[in-house]
């Protein structure tokens, strides 16, 4: 411990800065609790401030928990620890907020949106104004087909909404339970529970003791839902979102991704208990509502980025799509095959199946059908309810669904 007052001062200021940095990260959405702030101080103390990269790595290893958080951390670090007007910014952070942002000089790079918000948060009242703004940023659009618009759930009539909500909230999706490698005590088990038996023996005073039994526990497998939200699916997407919200909150290990022209993981948004809040967040997160569909490209993205993270432990995949592909099935069958091979069961729900005269003519549908295990309709509440029956059916060899479907047409 140095007793020099200047040194002490410098160190105190460093601690303050680290603290503020943690606060900025927290405001930007990183889970940085008090325990982490203390750990960060400890880490900085251990590594010292002689080398910038060490300092950075030390903070990083303490403050982030996921690979995805690195980008945000990097941006925040650059901004916070390099900017000479650091103190000024911190003052901004601490002072009561004045409406509007401080104008930035031209040379300064624009702040990433989340950080900018964290550094000078908008007041509640302002935020509402913000939300009502309908400006559309078209800079990153994939094509004119992708309509960048926020889907408005409000347009559903109140009565309709209430009715659908009520009915869907009661829907359950009884996935068949599979044996897992854990045991529970059971009267009529399949294996002897030696530990319990021995405990019984010690208190039985030499008498003959009955054996204690255990059996395999059962648990339903993870469920991954891939839902098409392109223009042709628009009428169903809204109804299905209620359904997806209901099943996401009904059980653990449900992951939901939406796709049109791009793939968006909305699992976290759907975990919100309140269906209105959840759907509002989904609506904000998804940018390709009611646009085109690039099923092949989206499935490819899923296979690369998500399949190994989500499809472990015997996951069941629910693919909800009409199979009408803007890319006319290009590369689709290869991705479908990869998807089918990485999951336990691949179930395709297609609203178009409600037509008696439905034929698998579009290229997209022909490319996908050979790889699905079940091919089922999903156009109204009844069909959702019938899903339960389909799940109970044991899995058949691949390709049977297609054969059955073809036979059904012939009949």
């Amino acid at each position: 411990m140095s007793t020099s007052p200047t040194r002490l001062f410098a160190r105190e200021r460093l601690a303050d800065n680290v603290l503020h940095f943690c606060r900025v990260l927290r405001a930007a959405g990183l889970p940085v609790g008090p325990a982490k702030v203390i750990a960060a101080l400890e880490a900085v103390e251990a590594v010292g401030v002689e080398r910038r990269d060490d300092f950075r790595a030390a903070l990083e290893s303490v403050l982030i928990e996921r690979h995805e958080q690195r980008t945000l951390f990097d941006q925040a670090f650059e901004l916070f620890w390099r900017n000479p007007r650091l103190l000024e910014r911190m003052m901004q952070l601490l002072l009561p907020k004045v409406y509007g942002r401080t104008p930035r000089s031209e040379t300064e790079a624009p702040l990433p949106a989340r950080l900018a918000e964290a550094l000078s948060p908008v007041r509640r009242g302002d935020r509402e104004l913000y939300d009502q703004e309908t400006t559309i940023d078209a800079a990153f659009t994939f094509s004119p087909r992708e309509v960048l618009q926020s889907k408005d759930f409000e347009t559903m009539s109140a009565a309709e909404l209430a009715e659908v909500k009520r009915m869907i909230a009661q829907l359950r999706l009884p996935l068949p339970e599979l044996p897992i490698r854990r045991n529970v005590p059971a009267d009529r088990g399949t294996a002897i529970d030696l530990r319990a038996t021995l405990r019984a023996m010690t208190s039985a005073r030499g008498a003959v003791v009955p054996l204690e039994w255990r059996r395999r526990r059962h648990r339903s497998p993870p469920l991954v839902v891939l839902c098409d939200i392109s223009g042709s699916m628009d009428r169903y997407a809204r109804m299905l979102l209620f359904f997806l919200h209901a099943i996401t909150n009904d059980r653990d290990r449900v992951h939901t991704l939406l796709f049109g022209t791009r793939l968006t993981n909305i699992t976290r948004h759907l975990r919100r208990r309140d269906v209105d809040i959840a759907l509002a967040r989904v609506s904000a997160a998804v940018s390709d509502w009611a646009g085109g569909t690039r099923i092949g490209a989206c499935l490819a993205q899923f296979n690369r980025r998500w399949s190994r993270r989500l499809l472990g432990q015997g996951a069941v995949v629910l693919l909800i799509s009409d199979g009408l592909d803007s890319d006319v099935g290009q590369g689709l069958s290869r991705e479908m095959e990869r998807l089918a091979k990485s999951c336990r069961r691949l179930i395709w729900l297609n609203p178009l199946l409600r037509y008696d005269k439905f034929e698998a003519r579009p290229a997209g549908i022909r490319a996908m059908l050979p790889f699905v295990d079940d091919f089922l309709p999903v156009h109204n509440l009844d069909s959702l309810k019938q899903l339960a029956g389909a799940f109970a059916r044991p899995r058949m060899p691949r390709g049977r669904a297609e054969a059955e479907f073809a036979a059904g047409l012939g009949a």
Binding site: A57, R309, Q313
Partner: protein, 309 residues
Amino acid sequence: MTTASLPASVDAALALLEQHDYFADRRLATSVFLALKMRRPLFLEGEAGVGKTEIAKVLARSLGRSLVRLQCYEGLDTASAVYEWNYPRQMIEIRLAEAQGKIDRETLASNIFTERFLIRRPILQALEPADGIAPVLLIDELDRTDEPFEAYLLEVLAEYQVTIPELGAIRAKEPPIVVITSNRTREIHDAIKRRCLYHWVDYPNAERELAIVRRKVPGADVRLSREVVAFTQRVRGMDLFKSPGIAETLDWAEALVALDRIRLDPETVANTLGALLKYQDDIGAITPEVATRLVAEAHAEAAAIDAAS
């Protein structure tokens, strides 16, 4: 084995790892240093084959501690991860007590549930090492287990203790050095990560990878090593289902040495690509034309480095 003292700085950590054939980048060395200094578990996440498990092994070797490894799998339970009672011995004990005719319920219960009948599994071994020196505990591929085991780990990682109902809590005198790895086949719960120092292990850059190949496959020609690394780095830039890790690079270099190759050529690449890429789709993506182009680029890059040095 004598215990080496913990590194005193990031540089010391870096040097220590390198001394034992692990070429870490500075970020990783910082995380390792902090994990040792702050006595926190080190949580390593990254693609398969980037050297996550190796860190634990090297740490054990370089610090002169034993390595206790717990390979995770689905359904891993306390009986195979922490402890189990030795039931046959317990039964014999009970029979003996009965035969001698002195059966007192209380004494019997307290006799057979003692440390004598306890079978120690990796976690308990790590908390109560036989030699008294806190070992390196490697919890490998945590993503392969299920949530109940993760929840169990919380107590172990936070308090360095386990609770055995019949015996009470067993606490480590000196906490072990814990390294947890995950291939991210699912997300590990935040509660676990919060207790750890998190580090994402990336693919190495060309320079570091070359150093690794030179050290681990000393039989490979210098020029060949450079070409192998240049080729692999280019393959990683392609849009593949599974990019090759360092382990694959080393396998491939060894395969080429076994075939007595001193230069890369498209035909050899085509014949040995299975050492580098493990998916048929990915191997298919390296067509003869692509292979020829990549080999030419690798030659050029190796030659350029040669000329420069």
